[in-house]
């Protein structure tokens, strides 16, 4: 259905307590800071956040965690030099952590977007990540059964959109955005600029408009 162009606060208004929110970015590259600010202002809590990291410094995802809105983090790399808000919450027992290898995080969201029910993945075999999990030998190699990660909402940042919702990204800020856009019921993209329809070359679209429900323009 048609992609809406709106402001950040309107874009996030249906996010509800307890929702699973996929948040783009690898560190700050590709993090939709203004959408997260709007989510903080909007007020939903008890959230499950799926993102590669657990916040950097005091802005974006770190600010959401600091505001006490996150019940659970699903991520690959929470511990960083500047992840003090997560670290404090975690040590205080105020936030739950599901640690997922980075590639499984990406592939499980890809599976959600692609209608795959589950998949056998070699990553983590023989490690604590696989303990108690269903495994299977296929062609002599051991795999762990992995399930999709579906989001209620995805908050991502892209570079330029056209008015239909087609997206292009910039350099390594692309990271999780294209995958998360496919895995959520509602995808909201923050972009630096909204172009006219026809301005983006159809060969170069990374996220087709079908995956984007709302666009918020935040000039750099």
């Amino acid at each position: 259905m048609k992609t809406q162009v709106t402001d950040a606060l309107t874009a996030v208004k249906e996010i509800a307590d307890g929702d699973t929110v996929l948040v783009g970015g690898f560190g700050m590259a590709g993090m939709p800071v203004e959408l997260i600010d709007a989510l903080i202002e909007h007020g939903a809590g008890d959230l499950t956040i799926v993102s590669n990291n657990a916040g950097n410094g005091d802005t974006g995802l770190a600010a959401l965690i600091a505001a006490g809105r996150v019940r659970k983090m699903v991520c690959s790399f929470p511990r960083q030099a500047d992840s003090w808000h997560f670290d404090g919450m975690y040590r205080a027992g105020k936030i739950e952590l599901e640690l997922v290898p980075q590639g499984n995080l990406a592939e499980r969201m890809r599976a959600a977007g692609a209608g795959i029910g589950a998949f056998y993945c070699p990553t983590g075999v023989g490690t604590p990540i696989a303990e108690g999990r269903e495994t299977r030998i296929i062609d002599g190699r051991e795999y762990v059964l992995e399930y999709p990660i579906h989001g209620d909402v995805a908050l991502i940042r892209a570079h330029v959109a056209d008015r239909l919702g087609n997206l292009v990204y910039r350099k390594t800020a692309r990271n999780f955005g294209p995958v998360m856009a496919t895995a959520a019921k509602l995808t909201i993209a923050q972009v630096s600029r909204i172009a006219e329809i026809g301005e983006l070359d159809p060969e170069n679209i990374v996220t087709p408009s079908i995956y984007v429900n709302r666009l918020v323009e935040v000039p750099l």
Binding site: K2, G115, T182
Partner: protein, 210 residues
């Protein structure tokens, strides 16, 4: 009583029912003609499983670009705002439930929405399935467009398909030359008829009608 629908009238009827801004896949054959009756301002975006959103019209051979075809391998155009992607991404889009509507032809549809449209079951036929099974499980709404009766008068809306299935319990609407059927959790509802009375329809089908 209105006459039964010619093919173009049927395509026009389906086109009018497609919601504004919907992402739609039109199957090979008759459903392809629906594109001609979509209003330019409807914002409907056509998907083709060979890797494109924003597909335009079928064009004659002399305007063909051999790198730009629909799923039936006919030459088509590209509309502003189009996007290309590879086959795994295209079918991820289909299987993942992102298309609002797909419209396919059928040999048979059952009252509970089973679809048979890829194989007659004839022992000497060379089977070919293409993307039909992927569309059947993937699109949010699967609509069928067909004649209601075979040339010999046998109904194609049936209690249970006798041909091999394409997908189970997937069809939500059946558009035919003589009536439109909504396959609902309560049963088969007749939405409109063309050139046939509801009583005659009930007599000629083995399916209970609401």
């Amino acid at each position: 009583m209105t006459p039964s629908l010619e093919k173009d009238d049927l395509a026009r009827l389906v086109a009018a029912d497609i919601p504004e801004g919907a992402y739609v896949n039109l199957g090979i054959g008759q459903p392809t003609s629906i594109a001609r009756y979509l209003k330019p301002d409807s914002g409907v975006i056509l998907h083709t499983e060979n890797g494109m959103l924003g597909m335009g019209e079928v064009v004659p051979a002399e305007e063909a670009d051999r790198d730009l075809t629909n799923a039936g391998k006919q030459p088509v155009t590209e509309l502003p705002g189009a996007a290309y992607f590879h086959h795994a991404d295209s079918f991820a889009m289909m299987r993942g439930g992102h298309l609002d509507v797909c419209v396919m032809g059928a040999f048979q549809v059952s009252a509970d929405g089973d679809l048979a449209n890829w194989h007659t079951g004839a022992p000497d036929a060379i089977p070919a399935v293409g993307g039909a099974m992927d569309l059947a499980v993937g699109a949010k709404e699967v609509w069928v467009m067909m004649t209601l009766f075979t040339r010999t008068g046998a109904p194609k809306l049936v209690p249970a398909c006798t041909y091999p299935l394409t997908g189970k319990a997937c069809v939500t609407r059946v558009y035919t030359d003589v009536a439109t059927f909504l396959l609902t959790p309560d049963g088969v509802r007749v939405r409109d008829t063309h050139g046939i009375g509801r009583d005659e329809l009930a007599t000629r089908l083995d399916v209970p009608l609401l």
